[in-house]
Subunit: 356 residues, 2 copies
């Protein structure tokens, strides 16, 4: 079934209102969540709305958080999210980073006691209208085995970097530090299809193509897949995200990161509070005049877009191109949702006596 | 043949003196260069000394640079390296980042008009003794084809991140944003061996195992190897390094990055000056008390080191472990150099009437 942006927005907004969010928080959370659907990251949009509701029911999400700065310097801050929705905490923290960048050139904010924040790119992109480079990352439920290990120690820990250009659209990279994100497995599960080799391993660390392997104690693999192809680099990247997001802020890190599914018990002896995020904003004119920078970004983008394509490929893409193209299509033609997601949303509607 | 640290240090120092470096610059350059040999990154150490000398002979390296800050804010700076050795320019710029972090919590420095800086990790590690997180990256000669392309557009563009711990050794990640670094190909060339699939492609973009393929218009592949295994993520990472290092600073970027081999002509219509680097320093106590942070880093490191290993593997490694272990061995047993490197160094010795 296909829904318009406005339909999904109204429904999602009313669900966030139903769990007790203020109008302002419900608007912020809705915009952040649906940004995923619009940009084609179907795994992180309204498909997760029931998951957020269940976390609220389990008492793990606070719908009326007192989000605040607990420590700061001119260019840094630690924010405590008071167990709020990451979708609400993240824009607050990113705004702190932007404000600090206005004052001293850059701003860097590590966040504790928060929850999943939707797609990282949405938050990083907040910097663009200020002629700033934006960065966003987060740790997440442990599903990834480090190189040489069979134990799940890290989340898919995404990194997003948004860089403004002049006439060209912005450069927006947003990627999990694994070979494949968990959402890709979910899509294959629905189709009853196998994964390519190099995405996952089984519980003994052997190669596997089973899209359901995470339910059998298997693990996702770090970007690079195996040692020979650089998985130690993906493992290092995921670790850096974990440390910047959670060790710097006082959140729970590594295998102790709180799980997203509300039915999974919380880890014992957690070394910090909730999930962690990390945000950065750099004013480009803290380095060189903004116009000059953005004109060179145009030149960079045009040069890379015109790189000679390999046979069978029409053109070389710039990070952010596919999501932006999808956004144009979906704002016009609507957002398709698979049956299982529609059924989930109907259940949520019934729970709160809403229409869907 | 095996050489002691002191032997290589004295010789390298006298070579840098011979091209006209001051005592201080020669010491800095020597320490940086040999850090690679000591840590086992043989491709980036004295094996490159003749390359640096040739760049000086070609007039591309200035042995007496006036390195200076050309723009700054409280947390940022742009440094012009005056075409100096990257080995000298990089520690200058990293020190600027550290000084800014002392004042406002973090410091971020983009560098133009510079040259290759040896191993990124050496510069990032300067932050550790100040209880800071250090970061270093650089762009480099274009050898890497973006996903879907057959054109070499990016360098192997490494990223290093050094994070202090308390009783545990520091976390030090230092990696090329390609599946395999160029140095790995050089090692296979000497052995007349093939590469694994997924490291390189031929000039038509087809898969290849030819370790000499870069001499035949082939290209290195971004981390992830192919689209299905996330090469678009490695391509994005390499691009971010290029933009932070060169577009922010006014250096030459992408396919216009100056080539390391002095016999390769400079690209036409270069959009900036020389190579670019980017450095960062974050005071950990700009986020939480340093002792607290470092104790949690100890806990993080111990937990990851004790992750269940896969069959056939003794233990899980922490980024920086292999290089630190190598350093212990080589400081004791010396640094082995292959014959071709020894021959190269003898030639340099003759050129400057030095003993080797």
């Amino acid at each position: 079934m296909v829904f318009s942006y406005d339909q999904l927005y109204q429904f999602t907004f009313s669900v966030f209102k139903s769990i007790g969010c203020s109008d302002e928080h419900a608007r912020t959370a809705t915009t952040g969540l649906i940004a995923a659907d619009i940009r084609g990251i179907d795994s992180h949009g309204v498909a997760r709305l029931t998951g957020y509701v269940r976390l609220w029911e389990a008492g793990r999400v606070n719908a009326t958080p007192d989000i605040r700065i607990v420590h700061e310097t001119p260019s840094t801050a630690v924010v405590d999210g008071d167990a709020g929705l990451g979708l609400v905490v993240a824009p607050f923290a990113m705004q702190v980073a932007i404000d600090k960048a206005k004052n001293v050139g850059t701003g860097w904010v590590s966040v504790r006691n928060t929850n999943h924040f939707g797609i990282a790119g949405h938050h990083a992109m907040m910097a663009l209208e200020h002629d700033m480079i934006g960065m966003a990352m987060t740790n997440a439920s442990a599903l990834v085995a480090p190189t040489f290990s069979i134990e799940r120690m890290l989340g898919t820990n995404p990194i997003a970097v948004a860089i403004p250009a002049d006439k060209q659209p912005a450069f927006v990279a947003d990627f999990a530090t694994t070979t494949a994100a968990n959402g890709k497995l979910e899509i294959l599960q629905r189709k009853n299809a196998d994964t390519p080799l190099g995405w996952v391993q089984d519980k003994e660390g052997k190669e596997s193509t089973d899209a359901n392997i995470l339910k059998k104690q298997g693990a996702l693999l770090p970007l690079g897949s195996d040692r020979e192809h650089g998985s130690h680099k993906g493992y290092a990247l995921g670790s850096i995200v974990d440390i910047f997001s959670a060790v710097l802020s006082g959140a729970s890190y590594g295998p102790w990161a709180p799980p997203f599914p509300a039915y999974v018990p919380m880890p014992e002896n957690m070394p910090g509070k909730g999930l962690g995020h990390f945000f950065g904003a750099m004013r480009v004119d803290a380095f060189r005049p903004a116009d000059e920078f953005k004109q060179h970004m145009d030149n960079w983008i045009q040069r890379f877009r015109s790189a000679k394509p390999a046979e069978g490929h029409e053109k070389v893409l710039i990070p952010g191109d596919p999501e932006r193209e999808m956004e144009t299509i979906r704002m016009k033609e609507g957002i398709p949702l698979v049956e299982s997601v529609v059924a989930d949303l109907k259940e949520v509607a019934d729970k709160f006596s809403l229409k869907f």
